[in-house]
Symmetry: C2
Subunit: 368 residues, 2 copies
């Protein structure tokens, strides 16, 4: 790295990812280690790294060859997990989070990655990047380990907004379908609407309304609507994308994490129980590692903010180097696929449907 310049020089044909080095529970060393890991694995990524200049410079210089791949942007302040989003937006211009989003806003980077305060990152993203025309509530899409061939399902909203009306849920379906097409390579993703039962007469009134709206949009938006699904379908094979409001989605996400952790802890206890079970655990080591890798939240790390002019990947606050690297990988893949532009085109074509006749709008639906 040469200096704290204003123009990215880490580029030269590379896909540029803007990384907020601060605000995660494990500090900037873990983030820089994650960057180094990704840089070593993938020669096509360049980085713009945001945070206190001297500290980051030192961390980056420690990793051989990393300085040439990183552009640094000095930002003296940090958004903490305790900061209130509304305060951060008003007084946060000097933070690494603001700076990281700025690189996407001014077109120097394609995707932004941050481990910081989710609420602050979302509010700042909305204010700095702006919502896509026609989108009222952006959403956070998260990956969920599943038995589907692509090994993950997508759930949204994972907690961007605790409210969602029928039209929001319809837009989540549209955005989730777009994400599944680009992230999983599925031509016609299957969408489910989360409810307390699969029968059509069950659930809240806004869910019945959303049901009809999503069903009406399925054909011209190239997804299949499987109808209402239940909590057990989140890791299941019934659909690829599960749509719900951010309150329910956030509770479900953390319940799933908690349950997986409980089973893991009990498994450890079970294997520590007797000499025989300890021997078994040695023999089963590689099998258990394979299982762990499969459900390890670090390896599916990264909630993606959908519905903005630009893509933001929110890494888990407690992410270590493996987690950060996984979030960077996701950011790179989304940048490569031109996801942001395709999603914008999809949303625009769906807005057309609202205003025009379905036949006219259908010709617009080929953009992706």
């Amino acid at each position: 790295m040469t200096a704290l310049t204003d123009q990215p020089q880490a580029g030269a044909g590379r896909t540029i990812i803007s990384v907020d080095a601060m605000g995660g529970d494990q500090g900037p060393a873990a983030v820089v280690a994650g960057i180094a890991h990704s840089a070593a694995k993938n020669p096509d990524i360049g980085f713009i790294v945001h945070g206190p200049g001297e500290e980051l410079q030192r961390l980056i210089d420690k990793k051989r060859g990393l300085a040439e791949r990183c552009e640094l942007r000095h930002a003296p302040e940090v958004v903490t997990m305790e900061d209130k989003p509304s305060q951060v937006v008003r007084h946060g211009k000097q933070t690494s989070m603001w700076s990281a989003l700025e690189s996407v806003r001014n077109g120097q980077a394609t995707v932004c990655v941050s481990c910081g305060n989710t609420g602050a990152l979302m509010l700042m993203s909305v204010i700095r990047l702006r919502k896509l025309p026609g989108i009222y509530r952006p959403a956070i899409a998260v990956m969920w380990p599943s038995q589907n061939p692509q090994k993950h399902n997508i759930m949204l909203d994972g907690g961007a907004d605790i409210r969602a009306d029928a039209k929001d849920l319809m837009q989540y379906a549209l955005m989730g379908a777009s994400y599944a097409r680009n992230g999983f390579g599925l031509a016609c993703p299957r969408i489910g609407l989360l409810n307390v039962g699969t029968e059509e007469h069950k659930g809240r009134a806004e869910l019945k309304e959303a049901y009809d709206l999503i069903a009406a949009n399925a054909k011209q938006s190239d997804f299949e609507f499987v109808g209402f699904v239940e909590g057990r379908d989140l890791p299941g094979t019934t659909c690829d994308v599960i749509v719900t409001d951010g309150f329910t989605g956030n509770v479900a996400l953390k319940t799933g994490e908690g349950t997986a952790k409980l089973v893991g802890d009990l498994l450890k206890e079970a294997f520590a129980y007797s000499p025989l079970s300890r021997l078994a655990s040695v023999l089963a080591y590689t099998s258990l590692q394979r299982l762990k890798k499969r459900v390890d939240p670090r390896r599916a790390n990264g909630g993606v903010f959908l519905g903005l002019n630009g893509t933001v990947v929110k890494s888990h606050g407690s992410a270590d180097a493996t987690g950060v690297s996984s979030a960077i990988k996701l950011a790179f893949e989304l940048a490569q696929s031109g996801f942001s532009d395709k999603l914008a085109a999809r949303v625009a074509s769906a807005s057309m449907v609202d205003q025009d006749s379905p036949t006219e709008a259908q010709t617009e639906g080929e953009a992706e």
Copy 2:
């Protein structure tokens, strides 16, 4: 068993459980097998069994010694899983579910157990047993495997009603605390209110209102309020009872079940992968069985309907003999502890608090 009489003769000092033999996915044979299992294990239970007389008679006669423990009530009709609750309540007088509740209503049995349609069972319970004075929404309390010393947490509402306002949530806290005192023997259960974050400023408006109401009732109702908790606390050690509305609770419950099943399936795959891992699985067999037993939903089978004049245990629809026997065990324990009367006294004393000064009401709080 002697005949289809109107008076219970299975009693003679025994605690009588009323069992709906129909409506479960596995049919009456599984239910009768569960009854036989419980009867063999616990000489203090007597049964009133409801369903088509001849069929049940044949199933009961097959099990040695069971006829003397069972009283039979002929009910020719069955509530199916597809039946709409409102229809069942209007036209369901000839069903085994109606008959099973009737035995609790007329005092011949202490607790009712059914594997049938949850919505129908709840609505029929409300109409036949009536809500406790002062209770607006009854709730379903479910057991959740956890790392707490009692090995389970209680969550309510698991899906009785998709709505709950602040006052309902406060009553759920009260009823959940009562259940934890009787079911777990905890003198001062810790109550948490489910939200998307533990910070006080997060979440929906009605949750903030519920927060204040629950906090205000903690002392005179002998529970500790730990404040907002998250999805990961459901299997955690932060609290013993988690309070939420029936929509969120139902999604969380099924998400937890689905996640546990996914991990279990992946574990099986991992152990089937190579000859070495298959050998390991043989050595680890007893350890894994111990783990399975710990998280097996059949062994914590039984949502309990709270807030009614009488106790109803809803067994899982797909319960086999082990599951039914587990639900009967729970019903027996609740009957033994005089849970229904204690809960009624608690609710009555809390209603007093609403009307009177806290000082006066506090003397009423000793009923349990």
